[in-house]
């Protein structure tokens, strides 16, 4: 069986390492597919204007293949699994067929399981996260009582503010945690895949996923597939993106300028300048700051406990 569609996708977008290896095993043995491979590379080169000059994608492919071959990695993206949306774009028929069957099953399931409680769910609201611990937190203008357990659901378009002495830890339904430092204001986009940081500092620990998670300030946007990173937007308008683990793509929203920030690197965006070249960064400062705030929160609860005990003695 020839795999022209997969070759096209591999050459244009790349495939996850395991799929790429399988494809190459086939192409190595199949003259027709190898001829298609060469033709497709030539076509891509022609579209880039020079049939003799390898494209940037070709060079990137060599780098990724070799690094994978010697078990080194540049970024989380190297090992990412195939994106479902990619599959939809590149091989729509099987994906659509599976999707149609799943939809039918789901529709049947909903019809069977529909209960009065479903009707009470607020229209147009999608739960995207949950505050699992927090103090000094205001959600859509309503101050929450301090808590160390999951209590408050976050819906699309929710605005979360954390006061001077507060912190908040938010669990994302799609996978991952967002830690919000004091004096920070954020809001979630409707799909829950984007967080708008107005001011302050957030530490995002994002689980590996298929769709990127985006943090946006007025000047930059930083997106990841799965990683741990901090974005801090100062009152002066400066924004810093600090990566603890993985790779984060940082784009200047005012005039597109993309910078890839790797493990233990940071970039800074000022009012007038694009993201700086990544420099070394030690995550200790952000981690110890967070530990300190959590300790303050625990002390607060211990004090309350002692006060309550005092009332009963």
């Amino acid at each position: 069986m020839h795999v022209e569609n997969r070759i096209d996708r591999y050459l244009a977008e790349g495939l996850p390492p395991v799929s790429a290896a399988k494809l190459k095993d086939h192409v190595r043995e199949c003259d027709a597919c190898r001829a298609h491979y060469d033709r497709q590379v030539a076509l891509l080169r022609v579209l880039h204007g020079d049939v003799d000059k390898p494209t940037r994608v070709e060079d990137d492919r060599i780098v990724h293949l070799v690094l994978h071959g010697v078990r080194l990695s540049l970024s989380e993206e190297d090992t990412r699994e195939s994106n479902r949306i990619d599959r939809l774009v590149w091989a729509p028929v099987p994906v659509l067929a599976v999707a149609a069957v799943m939809l039918l099953v789901l529709a049947f399931g909903f019809w069977q399981l529909a209960s009065p409680a479903d009707e009470l769910a607020p229209a147009g609201t999608v739960k995207i996260a949950q505050i699992v611990k927090g103090r000094g937190v205001v959600v859509n203008g309503v101050r929450l009582k301090p808590s160390m357990k999951a209590e408050t659901d976050i819906y699309a378009n929710t605005r979360v503010e954390v006061g001077k002495n507060g912190i908040a830890e938010i669990k994302l339904i799609a996978g991952g945690t967002v830690r919000i430092y004091p004096k920070t204001s954020i809001s979630f986009a409707p799909d829950g895949e984007r967080l708008d940081l107005e001011i302050g500092r957030v530490w995002c620990l994002i689980d590996k996923r298929n769709t990127p998670f985006l943090v946006r300030t007025d000047t930059i946007e930083a997106w990841v597939i799965g990683t741990s990173f901090v974005v801090e937007r100062e009152e002066t308008g400066e924004t810093e993106v600090r990566v603890m683990k993985g790779t984060v793509a940082v784009n200047d929203r005012r005039k597109p300028a993309l910078v890839l920030v790797n493990d233990r690197q940071k970039t800074k965006v000022t009012k007038d300048a694009p993201p700086s070249r990544p420099v070394a960064y030690t995550p200790r400062r952000d981690k110890s700051a967070w530990d300190h705030f959590v300790e303050v929160l625990l002390q607060f609860f211990r004090q309350i406990g002692r006060a309550v005990e005092g009332l009963f003695e």
Binding site: D8, A12, E13, K24, V27, R28, R34, A35, Y37, D38, R39, V41, A42, L43, L44, V46, L47, H48, G49, D50, V51, D52, P54, T55, R56, E58, D59, R61, I62, V63, L65, V66, L67, G69, V70, L72, S73, L74, I85, D86, V89, W90, A249, N251, R253, P256, L258, N262
Partner: protein
């Protein structure tokens, strides 16, 4: 002769096994390695396979690189690449390279096609691409220019055109499918592959 492709610090990091440094070395030297490999294999796929083998072998041999001779890294790499090519040819049961020449001959000197021939090919490609572009709707043409002509990635294009990355991928896929059906572009691709085979004879 001093090498200027990568600095000493990068070579030291590469020798220690750092992935980023190795990636930098690969990016810097892949054009010359490709040049060498193309003397022994015709198709892009086979060349890529050989290059991959050479780079993996280079990484495995990195500790043999003498730090006092970092200035000769290019020559060290060329020798390593040539030897690896010969090994691979032997593995494939071939004793000589393409062009019916001895693979052990010097590989530093590669004949360039005449300038005039290059210019004709370039103008032909330009004309075919202009005609292909002219048939595209404005939005698609903009995408084509940004991606294929200016070499921008999806993130930059998505930001500029206010579209999603998935839309970018879809547009690329559609444009590639259209390009495959375009007679002029198909003819250029066919001729370029034919000329590769001719050169190999």
């Amino acid at each position: 002769m001093k090498e200027h492709f990568v600095d000493r610090a990068t070579l030291e990091e590469f020798r220690r096994g750092d992935g980023s440094a190795f990636a930098e070395v690969i990016r810097a030297y892949t054009p010359s390695i490709r040049f060498q490999v193309m003397r022994y294999w015709q198709g892009v796929f086979q060349c890529e396979e050989a290059m991959q083998e050479i780079w993996v072998h280079t990484y495995q041999q990195r500790e043999a690189l003498d730090p006092s001779r970092f200035g000769e890294f290019g020559a060290w790499l060329a020798t390593l690449a040539r030897n690896r090519c010969i090994d691979l040819l032997r593995k494939q049961g071939r004793t000589i390279g393409p062009n019916t020449k001895d693979p052990t001959e010097t590989i530093d000197r590669v004949e360039e096609p005449p300038d005039q021939e290059n210019a004709v090919a370039a103008s032909e490609i330009r004309a075919a691409l202009d005609s292909f572009k002219a048939k595209l709707k404005p939005h698609w043409r903009t995408f084509f220019v940004l991606h294929f002509e200016q070499g921008l990635g999806y993130a930059e294009i998505a930001a500029r055109l206010s579209i999603g990355r998935t839309r970018c991928k879809y547009m690329k896929r559609v444009l590639l499918a259209r390009a495959k059906r375009n007679a002029d572009l198909r003819a250029i691709v066919g001729r370029s592959l034919d000329s590769e085979v001719d050169n190999a004879r």
